[in-house]
Amino acid sequence: MSTATKSKELTKQKALFEYLVRLADDRLILGHRLSEWCGHGPILEEDIALANIALDYIGHAANLYEYAVEIEGEGRHRDDLVYFRNDPEYKNLKLVELPKGDFGFTIARQFLFSSYSYYLYQLLSDIEDEQIRGMVEKHFKEVKYHLRHSREWILRLGDGTEESHSRIQDAFNDMWTYVGELFYQDEVDEFLQEKNLAADTASFKSDWKDLVTDTLEEATLDVPDWNQFMVEGSRQGLHTEHLGHLLAEMQHLRRSYPDADWE
């Protein structure tokens, strides 16, 4: 399947499909990583919280995929997008596919992604598409909770013990090269923005940076260099080696019995 970005004539249908899939893939893959904590969290309350957030993401992804296949109009089911696409067809950010790491890594990533989503959803709640607005309205409450949950943990871990401070600092340092892509935009975004069907992430980049900076400083952490080298290519389907393993695990059963109905 060629990507919409490669296509010469970008239509509203193609661009919107691509945009929805990008949003959905981010949430599905991050939800998958969070779901790996279930039964293995540091305290029972966090098993519950992380499973809850994973459910929010996967639920939102399900809604987005459903709308994407509806727009596409080829009679595909949302699960076809989940189980029968290969790595290059997945358009999620590399940030969300990185292994879950320790609790510090998981929380640092949650904070960066939730704070980003917090601004993104405010813009999406204003676009000219009723269905997206409806979804965003439903999920914005969840996003606010995700942000609060992760922010509180950043403060605890940053300003907790020496060990927690160094672990959460290392987590931010290690993932920093992946944060630049949060604000990547291409012709799909531009095409839709002209019709007010997509959010212009550039418009909240400095607010987001302020929020991240303030939180890290309050947590007595150093903000890594914003100008360091940042990786790219996720939205074109270029991933880390980790995504292939994740998909192998996620898709194996469904692909082993392609004719079976599991409901």
Binding site: H32, S35, E36, C38, G39, H40, G41, P42, I43, L44, E45, E46, D47, I48, A51, N52, A54, L55, I58, G59, A61, A62, Y65, R78, D79, V82, Y83, D102, F103, G104, L155, R156, L157, D159, G160, T161, E163, S164, R167, E249, M250, H252, L253, R254, Y257, D259, A260, D261, W262, E263
Partner: protein, 308 residues
Amino acid sequence: MKTFQERIDNGETIEPKDDMPDRYRQQLIRMMSQHAHSEVVGMLPEGNWITRAPSLRRKMILLSKVQDEAGHGLYLYSATETLGASRKEVINQLLEGKAKYSSIFNYPTLTWADVAVIGWLVDGAAIINQTMLARSSYGPYSRAMVRICKEESFHKKQGYEMVATMADGTPEQQDMIQDAVNRWWWPTLMMFGPHDENSPNSAELIKWGVKSKTNDELRQSFVDRHVAEAHEVGLEIPDDDLEYNEETGHWEFGEIDWDEFWNVVKGNGPMNKERMKARREAHENGKWVREAAEEYARKQKLSKEKAS
């Protein structure tokens, strides 16, 4: 003033601040903490399939179910704390191998069908036991059971729906689900514990109104209900001695392999060591997180005191 036993015999509910014999308290701490541990260890076999669930809908249902189990664990640890046993203390007993949890979770989940069968049979067995415990004489336990039973009934319904879908599916799905029933049927019957004559705690628990039915009575109602459900979707029960008795209206069934039962209880089940290893690892890997949270709370309190 009424004696404790008179209150029990009157059907009164015992509340945390009431006088109670030490033995009653100890028995309840043992039962309730075991129950809480079972919920938490029980997250592992099903959790094993969350990342591999074959549809988004099934993934969400499973994730939500395992999350409910964590919630039940939390709720039961709190209920146990009303008897003066702290969560930290009883969790340490589990991690040190001094406390038990339901042996059913020492069996492995080998295929997706196991997730369906656990929902149907294991939750089905839990409901039968917990419906009785919802009438237990200890108020916090009984209330916890009422709440938990509601969710378990929902889990069982979802499990049975999955079983029915697979039993009505492709030949491979049908084989998979029958194989899972074959592996889980007997261990599920063992969940109700030894025969009444070999169950040292039963008589005392019944006298104190904690339980109102014996292990064998509960097991019989489980068999009656689930044999019918199996037949309804065309599944076989792996028991050659299974026979319906017209006179009693009950299904008679074969003898449980008690050697297997005691062997698993003693720690030699297929997954005992791995389940405990997973719990210990989660606890050890989370140590720095819990310490950080405590230290942060201490610092916050200190700075608030300074400010005022």
